[in-house]
Every structure is written in structure tokens, then in C-alpha cells.
Amino acid sequence: MTAALATTALSVRFGAFQAVRDVSLSVRAGARHALIGPNGAGKTTLVHALTGSVKPAAGRILIAGEEATGRSEAQRVHMGLARTFQINQLFRNLTVLDNVLLAVLERNRRTAVFWRSVRNDRAALDEARSCLAFVNLLALAERPVAALPYGSQRLLEIAIALAARPRVLVLDEPAAGVPAAESAAIFERIHALPASLTVVFIEHDMGLVFRFAERITVLVAGQILTEGTPAEISADPRVREVYLGRRGDHAA
Amino acid sequence: MSSLVAVLVDGVAYGMLLFLSAVGLSVTLGLMRFINLAHGAFAMVGAYLAVVVVAAGLPFLLALPLVFVVVGAFGIAIERTAIRHLYRRSALEQVLFSIGLAFALGALANLIFGPQQQAIQTPAWLTGRVALAGLDITSYRLFLIAMGAATAIALIYLFEHTLFGARIRAAVDNRRAAEGIGIQVERLFALTFGLGAALAGLGGALSVEMLGLDPAFALKYLTMLLMVVAIGGAGSIEGSLLAALGLGTIDALFKYLLPEAGGFVIFGLLVAVLLVKPAGLKGRAA
């Protein structure tokens, strides 16, 4: 079966520094796949390379078996790969609804329309509302994003990505900066995503990783150290050494 | 053949004027990320000042350092009072302020000196002609080339081999790190801005004899100055020199060989360079 998302020998360089080195990754369709590793392991850079905001120096990226390596970030979204950001990337002066509506319209390729009111697109509005309903933000739909509590902004990040109707969703620390009580609620929503959707996520909280991931890839210094089920990873002494042993560093 | 060489000399002399007037613009753009559309106005201020002091009896060669110092001080004064507040503002706001300054200075020149062309009295030894290797060349052109070359060498020395230059390069490269190691970036900015203005003033003073001077001067040559920066790459002295010399010679050559092409070649060149290398020939990648 074709992997939902795959890389072969992917490398990213910034000048002399090699941030990602020979990463070959294969994510099964419908997987809940976690990327873990100490700070500076290259997790976010790998996500940037996957989604196309950083150009790899070498290697290939396939989305559902289709060549995506040379495609732009926007083209990859239309191939079914959407992402969220570790640091909120929202349209702060637009309302919550318009944030999601914009993503729906871009996916529909309806944003070329300049001769009709955006309010006339009932189908797009309904879809945007259903994305918001999924993350429990419908009640806040008409608020400007800047007025939203931080935890709700993290959920909006996810709602915007969902509006792209992805086949693969990449979540870069979806609960970053959120208090522990709320981060469980965010992961509960991620857990509720349709089983057909492939989810790749970066997360530092090992409790959440072991609860929600079915497979885990461990990155160290830009390379894959190992990959396996949560049971295999937690039993791996190398992982303990480089990562779990220093768990305290990442509690924040 | 000999007339072609004369045209080339003309072009190089013009290029040196462009270099003097533009190099400050390049450095302020590279260092402070400030888009100064009033840079041509600094050249104009220097030009009018030179005309006035020479008419008052000061020898031309003494007028040049005076212009350098006064326009430099003027630049520092404007940087300290207004421009330093604009470094973190949007490109649009920088453009608005600096265009406003250029308009105001141009209008002031018009109010004080009127719209007519100004002339400057240069010493006899600069108005003559020199026979050089069988060629008949205006000595003023040679003087310009010598001035430009000397300034370029001095600037390159200043930037590459002095502490001041090292500090500037450090601040261009990474402002925060430069501040971290104790470089007073604010003061550095003011001095650099003043130096750029002083050089523009000098360039303006030297331009009068060759290009003439009227209140439209500030905007007339702005496009050329911006082109030097665009092609040479912001923040690069060698780049500015090469771009200015290239533009000057190409302009002179085409005006001589193909007058009907006019300004086409130069502007076409700009668009072509920006298409191929948006950061300029020597510029750092954006």
C-alpha cells in the first residue's frame, strides 16, 4: 500500500549546517505518527521541508505516492498536505470565521472571484462553520482572532488546516505553550479526527505522545535514530539515553 | 576611434559622479535598511552650497571639503532628529518621509535660487584640455575620475581595514550580535548616515560643472542613483563602484553610438538585472 507521506534520503542544509540528514520516512495512511527528539533535532525543519517552505538540498518527498519534491508550498496543500504552526500563524485582525473561510475558499480555488460578495458563498460559509464546530469554536466565530484566548487560537490553527480538507495533516507542537489541562483537550480533538486522515505531529510531552501516537520516529541531530511503536520506543535504551533521560529539560 | 575613447572617458567621469552620489545610499540601505529617496536632495544641497561659497570667493578646491563637512553635519542632524525613528517603520513610511524631504528641499531651492540653471566657477586649470596619449581630454573629466578613484580607495580602506569599517560590517551582518559585543549601533548609524550624506554632497558639488544644477536636480538623478544601488547591491562599495562605472559608460556610449535609443538602454538594463538577480550583482541574497 502506498504511504500517505514518504521521504527518501531527505537533507536540508543552512549554509554549512546540515539541519536534516538523509531522512527516509514512510507514514501509513490513517496513521497517528509522532515525531520526537530533543530541541534542535531538526523536527520543525523537517516539517518545513515536507510542506515546502524550505527547499531540501537532496532527497525526495512523496504525497500519497505523488512526487511533491519540486512543488510549491501552495501546490502541496492542493495535493492534500496541510500543516499547523508551532507559533500561531493566524490572520489576527480577521474574525475567527473569516480565518477558516479564507482557507476554505483557497482550497476551492474560489479566491479568484472578485465580482461577488464573500457572504454569498453559502456552501463555503457552512463548511467553515463546520470546521469551527469540530474544534468547538463556533460560538466565537464572529470574534476577531486577536481577542481570542491563547488555547482557542491553538484550536483555530487546526481548524484552518482542516479547511484545506487534507489527506495528511502535519501538526507542529499543536499544544505548544498551552497549560497541561488544556493541551489534553486539544489532543482530544486531534484524536477525534476521522480515521482516514493521516496525522503527523511533533510533541514534547511524552505522556501525550504515548497516549495518542501509534508510531513514533525519533530524530537526533537531524537524523532518524529509530522508529517504532510506543512500546518499542519506550523500551529502546538509546532513546532513553538521548531523550527520555533528559525529559526534565522539555517539561516546559 | 579617438572620439570613442573620449566618450569612454566621459562615461567613466559620469560614473564616478554617480558613485560618489550613490555610495551613501547603498550603505544606508544595506546597514540601516532605510530607503532614502532624499539622497539625491543631499547631493543637491551640496551643489547649491558649492555654487554659493565659490561665488562668494572661496576657491573651488576649498569649497569641496567645506561642502563635505556641512552636508555631512546636515545628514547627521536629520538622522538624529527624524530618520532614526523610521528604521523600524514600513518601506512605505520611509518612502513618504524621504520623498517629502526631497520635495521640501527642492521647493526651498526653488524659493531661494529660482528655477534657473546655476553655474559654478572652476579654476582655470580645470577648465582646460589635456593632451593625453594623443587624446584631447577635458581636464575636469580627469579630475573627476581621480576624485572618484581616490574616494573609492579611501572608502574601501575605511570599510575593510579600520575598526569603524569592521563595526559597520558587523552591524550589517547581524545587528543584534553587534550590539551584544558592545558596538554602539545607534552612533554608528548616525556617523554612517552623515558620511553617506557628505559623499552625496561632494558628488553634487562636483556635478554642477558637468550636469548643471536646478531645483529638479534632486529627483532628476534619483532614478540613476537608485539604479546604481539596485545593480551594485545594497551595502556593497565595490558593487556600487562597478555599477556606477558600468552605468556611466553604457549611458555615454549609447548616447554617442545610438542616440535614438536614449534612456531605453539604461532602464532596460535595470529591469533585466533585477529579473536575473533581484538582490543586485554584489548584493547579499534576500
Binding site: 474574525t95 465580482w115 464573500v118 488546516a161 | 529591469v271 533585477l274 533581484p278
Partner: protein, 328 residues
């Protein structure tokens, strides 16, 4: 940019007010000027053209976030386009408007790949360089453009075959007013459309846009094209109502002027920009007949001061009053 933008605070999400409450006042004032100042209709018509030109540039700077120092190129091309067409015997004014819009849109289309890419600085340079290039071209093509003398020897047929352009400028004014109203409505429509929402998205967060699959460069190119076409309409209108097309219509001063007008009016605020353009046109006419030099000096000083004082321009003031009114 976006923090400065008064339009950011209003928002598409409040469709209760279809137009800014100031809109009826603008049109009431324009209609009233027809009856109150019958001897100054030529000036009023010129001001309407300036308002159209300002709205066209606002689409670019205020909504797409592209700063240009060469927007007058499209005004000038529109003016020359319709004037040349009229000299060839096609004197119908609406045909002239269409021609002005088409030629400007065509040139914008050709230029958009180089304008859309790059930083603000390269955009300023490219627009300035291209404007100089086209200015030089128009200057050289004397047979077509009349060179420095401009074009004045052309006729304009009666509007719709019914309303001749009279000596008092009544037809010209009403014609310009109608075109302005259409442009105003069109701009409002564009900015409240899905495309307008995408432009706001680009200004709000250009980094997120590609991550939701947005073709950012194409959006910017389309706005450049629309903006050029509207400026072309303004230029054609200018040539038809003044019976003149000249080099200064595509010169640098006009380009710089419109950047100021839009900024002083309040970028991204359609009503504010319209009022700003009208005020600018009136003050310019009043002062430049007294002393053009003091006008330039004053303009320069106001521009410098505006960067520090009048953030948001006239549009910002309208928004502030609007909020105050709602609270009261």
C-alpha cells in the same frame, strides 16, 4: 503595515453596513457641487479623475500591500490610449474608456511578473525604472504621442450618441461622476469579495497564505492588473474631459503624488481615500494658483509630518469617529 491599517479594524465580518456611513455624504457633496459651483465644473471633473486614480492605487497599496512609484504609467497609458484612438476617428467616449482600461491592463499584465516578486525596495525600483522607461518611450514616439507637446487635436463624440460635451463641462462632470460611482462600487465589491478576503489574508499574514494553498503571487498579479485597468479608465476620462493627453500624466511627480494622496486619505479605506483625493485636489488648485513653490514646500512638510502624526489618514479619523459614535 497591517497594524497601521484602519480597514483592519472594521472588517468583512460585519456586513450590516454595506457602505461606510460616509459614502452617502461623499456622493451628496459631489452632486451638490454640480449645482453650487456651475462655473468650476472643469476643476470638479479633474478632482473626480484624481479620486478614481487614487482608488485604483489604493487597491494596490492599501489592499494588496504593493508600494509603487510608477502608478501614473497606467493613468498616462489610458489617457494616450483613448486620445490616440480618438485621433484615428474612433471618438466614442465609452470605447475610449474601454481602450484605456485594456491597454493599461495589458501593460500591467506584462509587468506583473517583475512587480509581484521581490521586496518592497525592488518593487520601488522596478516600478520607478519601468515608469522612466515608458516615459522615455512616450517622449520618443512623437508621431504617436506628440512628444513633449502632448495631444490636443482630437474630438470626443457625444456620450451614448445623445449628450454632447458642452462648453460649461456639465456633460463631462456628470460623465466623470458616473464613472467614479461605478469605480467606487467596483472597488467596494472587490474588497468584500473572496479575492478581497485573500488580499487581506496576504496583508495580515503572508506566511500562512501558502500554507492554506493560496497562490499569493497570482493574487498580487490580479490586483496589479485590476488596479492598472482602473487607472487606465481614469486616464481615458482625463484625456476625454480635458481634451488633452501629455507626458506629465505618466510622470514621476504624478506617481509620487498619488502615493501621498492615498496615504493621507488612509490606505485601504475607500471613503477616506476618496475624501483625501478630493481635499488634495482642492488644496492643490487653491495653493498652486497662489504659489506653486510654496505648494511644493508645504506638500513636502506635510508628508514628513504625516509619517509621525497622521497615522491612518482621513480614513483612520472616520473609523475613530465611527467607533465613538457607536459607543455613544
Amino acid at each position: 503595515m497591517s497594524a497601521l491599517n484602519p480597514a483592519s479594524h472594521g472588517g468583512l465580518s460585519k456586513p450590516a453596513l454595506p457602505f461606510s456611513p460616509v459614502t452617502p455624504l461623499i456622493f451628496a457633496a459631489l452632486i451638490a457641487s454640480y449645482f453650487l459651483f456651475p462655473n468650476h465644473l472643469a476643476l470638479a471633473t479633474q478632482i473626480l479623475v484624481l479620486m478614481i486614480f487614487a482608488l485604483s492605487y489604493d487597491l494596490l497599496q492599501g489592499h494588496a500591500g504593493i508600494v509603487s512609484l510608477g502608478h501614473a504609467v497606467f493613468l498616462g497609458l489610458g489617457a494616450y490610449g483613448s486620445a490616440i484612438l480618438a485621433r484615428w476617428g474612433f471618438t466614442d467616449p465609452l470605447l475610449g474608456l474601454a481602450a484605456g482600461a485594456s491597454i493599461s491592463a495589458l501593460v500591467a499584465l506584462v509587468l506583473s511578473p517583475i512587480v509581484v516578486r521581490g521586496s518592497d525596495f525592488t518593487r520601488l525600483l522596478v516600478t520607478l525604472g519601468v515608469a522612466s522607461l515608458i516615459h522615455e518611450a512616450a517622449n520618443r514616439m512623437r508621431d504617436l504621442t506628440g512628444g513633449a507637446d502632448g495631444l490636443a487635436d482630437f474630438e470626443v463624440a457625444p456620450l451614448l450618441g445623445l449628450f454632447a460635451f458642452d462648453f460649461e463641462g456639465r456633460t463631462a462632470f456628470l460623465y466623470a461622476l458616473t464613472v467614479f460611482a461605478l469605480v467606487y462600487a467596483a472597488l467596494w465589491r472587490v474588497t468584500t469579495s473572496p479575492f478581497g478576503l485573500a488580499l487581506r489574508g496576504i496583508r495580515e499574514n503572508s506566511r500562512r497564505m501558502p500554507a492554506i494553498g493560496s497562490p499569493v503571487a497570482r493574487h498580487l498579479a490580479v490586483s496589479y492588473l485590476l488596479s492598472g485597468a482602473i487607472a487606465g479608465v481614469g486616464g481615458a476620462l482625463l484625456a476625454q474631459t480635458s481634451r488633452f493627453a501629455s507626458l506629465d500624466m505618466l510622470g514621476f511627480e504624478r506617481s509620487a503624488e498619488i502615493v501621498m494622496v492615498v496615504t493621507l486619505g488612509g490606505t485601504g479605506h475607500i471613503a477616506g481615500v476618496s475624501i483625501g483625493a478630493a481635499a488634495f485636489g482642492l488644496v492643490k488648485d487653491a495653493l498652486s494658483t497662489v504659489s506653486p513653490r510654496y505648494w511644493q514646500l508645504g506638500l513636502g512638510v506635510v508628508l514628513m509630518a504625516s509619517v509621525f502624526l497622521a497615522r491612518g489618514g482621513i480614513g483612520g479619523l472616520i473609523e475613530r469617529f465611527g467607533r465613538f459614535g457607536r459607543r455613544a
